[in-house]
């Protein structure tokens, strides 16, 4: 059936053939156009779109297959959402070593984008904890792949292009309790923000900085550093599967995040934060999945949606590069509604197209303002390119082929593993 499908950032809707994948028979559907697996559709840009082609919707294959309480290896189908998984496995004393900023993504989506969390320095990315996958290809093969095999490495972070991942084996980590001990502090000036984040991310399991990018002057930049460590105690894990108490899914798409509201929000948040530095005990959900507390928050940006720019700059070039990014943003007079800075560790990337690499990663949300944003993003791209960094495909809707090729050096090796019947809007734009 032909339907209009949006991505999380709300790019112009695109027509797709949408196919419900039930898991049996284990062969890919016959279609005229190309195929792309789709999980929760939480990717910001066109990595989860395949305009004019087909999407294989994996929401009906969300079953557990087996769990070994001795080793902590969980086998499940790829449509299972992380929040559901946590709700069932946390009471048994196990958790996911890596979670992204939302628990509503699927296991397949987390794997295909090789997502990271606030603990990358200690735990690496999602793909580092995948022990095996079952990959269904258009030639009819259904293979079990394990780390070390080229096609496995291509599929981790492979944006769903190497075939349909039907089943995943994940290494879970022991964890009891629901609390985190959170330490809040603030810093002024880009250099101090970076050095304090560097120290905190080494000392604590989780670390991230909220930046007030409504005033992007690098000397005066305000950063709220939140670092946290797991502690014992705390209640009920079933809340992981519960949707947000506040939901805006049924409200009209009013553009509530604009220039003025963003300034007010940032100013208020900043003052509140500055008033309460120090250490406190928080629920893991509110700390790791902050934005999940508002269901469908992307609708707050109105019908034109939002854009996110997330890049990583290597350690050596990060201070200068970040400063240049701030200056360009300042000149552009574009409003950044939310900005988060994190530190990536030095693990070997889990996949051929994995985004995380050692350095600092900055994610900035903007209300969509197509033309002006595109001008800004092109200028930001030039800085990232010069600094030897990369832009995150999961968030991207504008990256040029040149930048992609420069940032993802294993693209040619990866392309050999792309299933001939699979494609995506993103891949046609930058890779193929």
């Amino acid at each position: 059936m032909s339907v209009e499908v949006r991505c999380w950032a709300g790019l112009p809707t695109a027509h797709h053939e949408r196919i419900d994948w039930s898991g049996s028979p284990a062969s890919l559907p016959e279609t005229a156009g190309s195929l792309l697996p789709r999980g929760a559709g939480r990717s910001y840009g066109d990595v989860c779109l395949n305009p004019g082609g087909s999407l294989i919707d994996t929401r009906w294959t969300d079953r557990y297959v087996a769990f070994d309480p001795e080793t902590g290896v969980l086998r499940c189908e790829s449509g299972l959402r992380l929040g559901t998984l946590l709700a069932h496995l946390r009471p048994l004393g196990w958790t996911l070593p890596v979670v992204p900023g939302t628990r509503w993504v699927t296991v397949g989506g987390a794997l295909a984008n090789d997502v990271h969390g606030k603990n990358h320095r200690h735990a690496g990315s999602f793909g580092h904890h995948v022990r095996a996958i079952h990959l269904l290809r258009s030639d009819g093969s259904l293979d079990r792949l394990a780390p070390g095999e080229d096609r496995f490495t291509a599929t981790i972070g492979g944006l769903g292009l190497t075939g349909l991942v039907t089943e995943v084996a994940l290494q879970l980590r022991r964890r009891s309790g629901m609390w985190l001990q959170e330490h809040a502090s603030h810093a002024r000036g880009l250099d101090r923000v970076l050095s304090e984040l560097d120290t905190a991310s080494a000392q604590h399991e989780y670390a991230a900085v909220w930046l007030d990018m409504t005033q992007p002057d690098p000397e005066r930049l305000f950063g709220l550093l939140l670092a946290a460590d797991p502690i014992e105690g705390g209640g009920d894990a079933s809340g992981f599967a519960r949707p947000a108490r506040i939901g805006v899914g049924r409200l009209p798409r009013l553009p509530l995040v604009g220039r003025l509201s963003t300034r007010v929000f940032n100013a208020v948040y900043r003052r509140l934060a500055a008033r309460h530095p120090g250490s406190r005990r928080v629920d893991e959900r509110s700390c790791l999945f902050t934005l999940d507390s508002i269901g469908d928050w992307n609708r707050l940006y109105g019908s034109s949606g939002l854009r996110q720019y997330q890049c990583v700059l290597p350690l050596g070039t990060a201070p200068g590069g970040m400063e240049a990014l701030c200056r360009v943003l300042s000149d552009s007079r574009v409003t950044c509604s939310l900005a988060v800075l994190k530190r990536f560790g030095d693990q070997r990337p889990a996949g051929m197209l994995s985004f995380p690499r050692e350095g600092f990663t900055l994610a900035m949300d903007f209300p969509n303002d197509e033309e002006r944003l595109l001008v800004l993003f092109r200028r930001l791209d030039a800085i990232v390119l010069e600094a030897g960094g990369a832009v995150y495909p999961a968030k991207d809707a504008h990256m040029s082929r040149e930048l992609f090729r420069a940032a993802f050096t294993r693209t040619d090796e990866f392309a050999a593993h792309v299933d001939p019947r699979f494609s995506s809007g993103f891949w046609r734009r930058v890779g193929a």
Partner: protein, 248 residues
């Protein structure tokens, strides 16, 4: 209280599986009855991790009504009785094809009507003897009034609703609850070919309604989502001249 013993007939259907997940979360013992052994096993493995105390699979083609009695006797003695049964088997037929292909229509009616009604009668006898328990069956708003687009399916669901209504009256004095659930439009693989609008509900939502109502120990008819009750009432009340013209 010991774990509830629950049997689900047509356990691979999306609504049945969503119900099974909810019951698994309460630690129930589940018996899954269906035709496709490998799909049943996959669902069973999933339900064990979701908290079910025990899951058993029973492979049987439910359109097959021969020797229903001895089969039911064996099933009933597995756990020495059952606390709750959900009859969820069924298929959504192609109405146009039913009109021209009588053999196809026969197979549809055998599965959606004959097999369901006979199974319900066999279960009712068991519950009556046990003098406790809950008998649930999935009807449909399509059974409330036949419409040109979907009346063969609707006829089978109307037959089911009528039988359930009779069972409700018959078993009430024995303390057995009899509940018919009439879902509206539900987004499941069975309805993959339909364009979804705001009236569509998820299988999870319908399952939540089913489990909640069964926990309250209610008998009768429940629409899911609840807004279908007034819609169905209006559809039943439409005068014939309007109903004939307004093809919805």
């Amino acid at each position: 209280m010991s774990a509830q013993r629950i049997a689900i007939f047509g356990a691979t259907s999306a609504i049945a599986e969503a119900c099974a997940r909810q019951w698994a979360g309460t630690g129930a013992r589940l018996m899954l009855v269906g035709r496709d052994a490998s799909r049943l096993e996959r669902i069973a493995a999933d339900l064990r991790i979701r908290g079910a105390t025990e899951v058993r699979c029973v492979v049987r083609d439910l359109s097959h009504v021969n020797d229903l009695q001895p089969w039911m006797d064996a099933l009933w003695s597995e756990w020495n009785g059952l606390d709750l049964c959900l009859v969820a088997q069924g298929t959504l037929p192609d109405t146009k094809r039913c009109e021209s292909d009588i053999d196809y229509a026969k197979s549809v009616l055998e599965l959606n009507a004959d097999a369901c009604l006979l199974l319900l009668l066999a279960l009712a006898a068991r519950f009556e003897a046990q003098a406790s328990g809950q008998l649930l069956a999935l009807g449909s708003v399509a059974g409330d009034r036949g419409r040109a687009g979907n009346y063969v399916y609707g006829a089978a669901k109307a037959a089911l609703a009528t039988l359930m209504s009779g069972l409700e009256q018959r078993l009430a004095p024995r303390g057995v609850q009899v509940l018919t659930i009439k879902p509206g439009w539900v987004d499941t693989p069975m309805t993959a070919a339909f364009r979804k609008g705001p009236l569509w509900a998820s299988a999870e939502k319908v399952a939540r309604d089913i489990v909640r109502t069964s926990l309250r120990g209610r008998s009768g008819v429940v629409y899911s989502p609840a807004f279908w009750r007034p819609i169905a009432w209006v559809v039943r009340m439409l005068p014939g001249w309007l109903f004939r013209r307004w093809r919805f």
